[in-house]
Amino acid sequence: MKQLFSNPFIESFAHRFENIYQSVGFLLPEAALLAGIVLLLLLAISTRKAYGLRLAFWAVAIMMASLFAQLFFLVGQLRSLPDEAPLYLMADTLCVFHPLQIQARIALNLGALLFGVVFLFELLGHYRKESVEWLFWALSALLGLDLLLLSAHFLTFYMSFELSSIATYFLLSVGRQRRQHEALMKYVLFGAFASALMLYGISWIYGLAGSIEFTQAAFWQHLQAAPSLWLYIAWALFAAGVFFKLSVVPFHFWAPDAYEGAPAMSLAFVSAIPKVAILAFMMLLNSRMAAFAALQTVWGQLLMAVALASLLLGNFIALRQHNLKRLLAYSTIAHMGTLLLPVVAAGYEGAEEVFLYYWAVYALTLFVAFALAAQQQIDQIADLRRFNHTTGAKLAWGVVAFSLAGLPPTAGFLAKLGVFVHFWKMAASHNLALLLWVTALLSTAVALAYYIKIPYALFFKQESEAGAPAGADAALLPAMMIALLLVLAILWGYPFA
């Protein structure tokens, strides 16, 4: 027996097995998600009557259960992180832990939970028959994003990135009308194009660094030695995929078209949730190159240029939009531009808080907007006038507009203020950053002009008393609760030190 173990092959095998066995514990959150996905799949294929309200409720229940389980494990991981400690905790060469990373995963989870709740109320309002598929793809996308945050290697990053992308394609296709498949097709092709560019970029990086294991110091040392123009090209190509996912200029084209025909509930998921994972990943990447100033300059300048373009283009084109979903698509582009500010300034203290707060406020606001739009089946902004809204729905719309614009009685204001105050630390000593800071500030004023259309249509241009009653009322409850929360958040005051 002992002979057997002393065999070097067996021994290394046993060692590996031991290693795998011990690191399984680190993947429990993902296991919970996976279990949920499998159960949903079984549910979808095992029932003969494929569609039914009860089935939909079961699906939501499964999703919520797996999300709660994941949350439980994630909180456990967050607690087990040492307080003072090494910033990165390697579980294996394949996954790393970092406070921000776990926080971002929790944010993903909470966003999905909220999505589940809103979805449940949506079901109460008007039943959709594709709900099982919907939740299945939502969970799959979530798993992809979660793994993306865990990855320590560009190849695992790419795999999980694709998992989430593919799930997102399907998510946006569910419940879509036939003639709107063209926009979806463009989205898929453009996505493939972007991820091909990213893969190409990764191969450039491999060529420059000789490795793509970006958790190793050697990787960065080799990379630093490369000529800077090559570095720009490599990073720019790599970033193409990321930019596509974030829908920032110049990879934003898909967003307005794809948003326009998609069901509002999918949009609530796609437009808000994946962003936190991608941005957090970029922040982590940015803080990894902290020791390599030249690399950080390359990466930072690239991001700043893109943020600048997104802020300008997103805000100005939004001025011309009359379709609510297109408007929100351009607003997303602009908001992603703003969210890139803390990512660029990741090295300055407090970036994580500012970033997570901004994202949370933005996601909550979008949830309110899309939940309201889904309930009332609103496409054009002018549609808002056709219905008899309850005061609550009107106020919730008002909160959406104010929070997106970043006006005072809402949390959106605090979030914007936090980002600007934080970014000033960088802008004070950096020309391009200063330009970006000023642009972001001014484009906020431009944004007011189009967000104000929403309350204007509701409060001043109400057409007639005899409009159609708007939406199922009990189903508006979560939207209004979130809206109330967005207003109440101001009571906690400025949340950043």
Partner: protein, 669 residues
């Protein structure tokens, strides 16, 4: 004691719920009713727990995290004070509130604006809790005005009806009259004692300040001569009347007096007692001649509030407070059971397309035989109001009468007059309750009304009624069915030492039984063969009484010089007088205003207009031009940007690549 410190959250919950309901009405779902029931039920549980925990300690002060410095030398104490009576009030508000909310689930089922109704109810509960929990007079005043507002909104809930609008306005204005005095009283407290904190005020107030403070009670608790708004307030929904105009809001005045009476001088208390006695007798007499079943109960509420005030004024706070609590039970229950009768009659009437006054007692009858499940709770509750032995009402009311009788030790001979008046009032109470019982329940029903009776009881009606009528039995209040002195309330609230003349109580009970029977017999058992229902068909004696009352009505009308014959003569007369006085006052103020102040304001106005013209010119010429230029640029940028969105995928890819390359070039070089 940690839990108790988060009590103010409890206070905010009805507020939040009320606002939510106002902002987001639930038209289809039954959420509003159910959540209200649960919320108020939770409140009453909290009250019960408080009651248990305050059994030992004298009182708990909870400081709120808010400090309200109103003046340099004076800050409002925003803390909460919880002692035994407070806990009782929280309990009773929650309990009656949840009963009423449950009852309203059916009663208000078909209303379009049901959510608004529940919202007002919830806001009312918040304001009422505010009154009973806070310790500063100024904050009590805030709650005081808020309950007034809710009462106004609920009386006028059916604002399509002119009498509801009128009644709401009348109630509001009359209450403001009392509140004006109350504000003066609060100011006097501040001036004289330097504080409006109930826990800090110790010294006795001068008589005028005490009377001003009593003004608040007079308006809110409908005491003579500000009593007339309460019967008219019956134009509101019946369950709201049960909660607000019977059990809780009108009792707020009594509660205030309960808190303040140690500060009042004896002379003022005697005046208050005299007014209370006039209220008792006057409204009991008026209750004997009403045709409308809700108005009978309203007048009886006024009269019972008089009892409470009488007791407190004669230094028997325990008796007065106990009567407040028992009265909350049986009067709310009476309103709910009579409301059920009105509900069924109303529905039958709508189904048949008939038009008659569903609340007129002379137009219906026979409900005991057809709806026994409704008659039994009504019987218990009416017995409690009339003061039958074995009921809670008898315990508290007779305690009051006995203590009035016994207060001659302090107040002298006048106590006997007051006591006799109180006994007379109790007998009248029994009589009009007997009359109502006879008219609605015992009399044979008009034959065509057979279909009006409900086939089966509704649980939403039965449960609140059962709760309230069981609560009106004696054993909750005192183990001894003949005396309150064995009960916890009496022992907790430091009753006077004097021994009570129990014989008076027994005599009153016996008299009440007799008067109830007399009323029921006179009105409930008509001579055979007479079935006309529009004219009251009555026993000869009752007819005589009726004629006498009609005569009295005419005499009052003549005296008050009102041309139009009307049911609500008395109140309209008083209201007209008040309005006339108010108008005179307004005109005088206007005269003063238009002479001096108007000219100043006119001058200011002219300057403003000139300045505005100047600014407008600059605005048009200079600022607008700049704005237009900026807007034009923004439009151009938007146009160019949206041209990029051509819809052709190949172009997208090219643009992306070129843009990326440009960015790289731009940044790298």
């Amino acid at each position: 004691m940690e839990l108790i410190h988060s009590l103010w959250l409890l206070l905010l919950m009805p507020l939040a719920w009320g606002i939510l309901l106002l902002v987001q009405p639930f038209a289809r779902a039954r959420v509003d009713g159910v959540v209200s029931v649960v919320l108020y039920g939770g409140l009453s549980m909290a009250g019960w727990l408080l009651l248990r925990s305050t059994g030992q300690v004298p009182g708990t002060v909870i400081e709120l995290p808010v400090h309200w410095q109103l003046l340099k030398t004076y800050s409002v104490n925003s803390g909460i004070y919880i002692d035994y009576p407070t806990a009782w009030m929280v309990f009773i508000v929650g309990l009656v509130g949840s009963c009423v909310a449950l009852y309203s689930c059916r009663y208000m089922q078909e209303e379009t604006h049901r959510s608004r109704y529940f919202a007002y109810l919830s806001l009312f509960v918040f304001a009422m809790l505010g009154i009973v929990l806070v310790r500063d007079l100024l904050l009590i005043y805030v709650g005081w005005e808020l309950v007034g507002l809710c009462s106004y909104l609920l009386i006028g809930f059916w604002h399509e009806r002119s009498e509801a609008r009128r009644a709401a306005l009348q109630a509001f204005v009359t209450n403001r009259l009392g509140d004006a005095a109350f504000v003066v009283g609060i100011g006097a407290c501040l001036l004289l004692t330097g504080s409006t904190d109930l826990l800090q005020m110790q010294q006795t107030l001068p008589w005028w300040a005490a009377l001003c403070l009593f003004g608040g009670t007079m308006g809110k608790s409908a005491q003579f001569p500000l009593h007339f708004w309460l019967p008219d307030a019956m134009a509101g929904p019946t369950p709201a009347s049960a909660l607000i105009h019977a059990a809780t809001m009108v009792a707020a005045g009594v509660y205030l007096l309960f808190r303040l009476h140690p500060l009042f001088p004896d002379s003022t208390l005697l005046v208050i007692a005299g007014l209370a006695l006039i209220t008792i007798l006057w409204s009991a007499l008026l209750a004997c001649v009403q045709k409308d079943m809700k108005r009978v109960l309203a007048y009886s509420t006024v009269s019972q509030l008089g009892y409470m005030i009488l007791a407190i004024a004669l230094h028997n706070p325990a008796g007065g407070f106990a009567h407040l609590l028992t009265h909350a039970f049986f009067k709310a229950g009476l309103f709910l059971s009579v409301g059920a009768v009105i509900y069924y009659l109303h529905h039958w009437q709508e189904k048949k397309g008939l038009h008659f006054d569903a609340q007129n007692m002379f137009l219906t009858g026979g409900w005991a035989r057809r709806a026994l499940w409704l008659a039994i709770p009504y019987g218990i509750l009416a017995a409690a109001l009339a003061g039958f032995p074995l009921t809670a009402g008898a315990l508290s009311k007779e305690n009051i009468i006995m203590s009035v009788w016994a207060s001659h030790a302090r107040f002298g001979q006048v106590a006997y007059y007051l006591g006799s008046g109180a006994i007379l009032g109790a007998l009248l109470t029994a009589f009009y309750m007997g009359r109502q019982t006879g008219l609605i329940w015992l009399r044979p029903a008009p034959p065509e009304q057979a279909a009006a009776f409900p086939a089966q009881p509704h649980a939403t009606f039965i449960i609140p009624l059962a709760l309230l009528s069981v609560g009106s039995l004696w054993f909750w209040w005192s183990p001894n069915p003949m005396s309150l002195e064995a009960g916890a309330i009496w022992q907790r609230l430091k009753a006077p030492e004097a021994s009570l003349p129990h014989a008076i109580g027994y005599l009153t009970s016996a008299g009440a039984l007799f008067m109830f029977a007399l009323g029921a017999w006179l009105y409930g058992f008509s001579p055979k063969g007479k079935t006309a229902h529009n004219e009251p068909y009555l026993q000869p004696l009752a007819r005589l009484l009726y004629r006498f009352c009609c005569l009295q009505d005419r005499v009052i009308r003549y005296l008050m010089d009102v041309a139009k014959p009307n049911e609500q003569t008395e109140s309209i007369w008083l209201q007209d007088r008040l309005t006339a006085w108010g108008l005179k006052l307004c005109r005088a103020a206007h005269q003063f205003d238009s002479k001096g102040i108007d000219r100043l304001i006119n001058g200011l106005g002219k300057i403003t207009v000139v300045a505005a013209h100047v600014i407008a010119w600059t605005d048009r010429q200079i600022v607008d031009g700049m704005v237009k230029a900026i807007v034009g640029m923004a439009r151009l940028a938007a146009y160019i940007g949206s041209r990029l969105q051509s819809g052709i995928l190949q172009e997208y890819a090219w643009i992306a690549i070129v843009a990326l390359a440009l960015i790289v070039l731009g940044v790298a070089i």
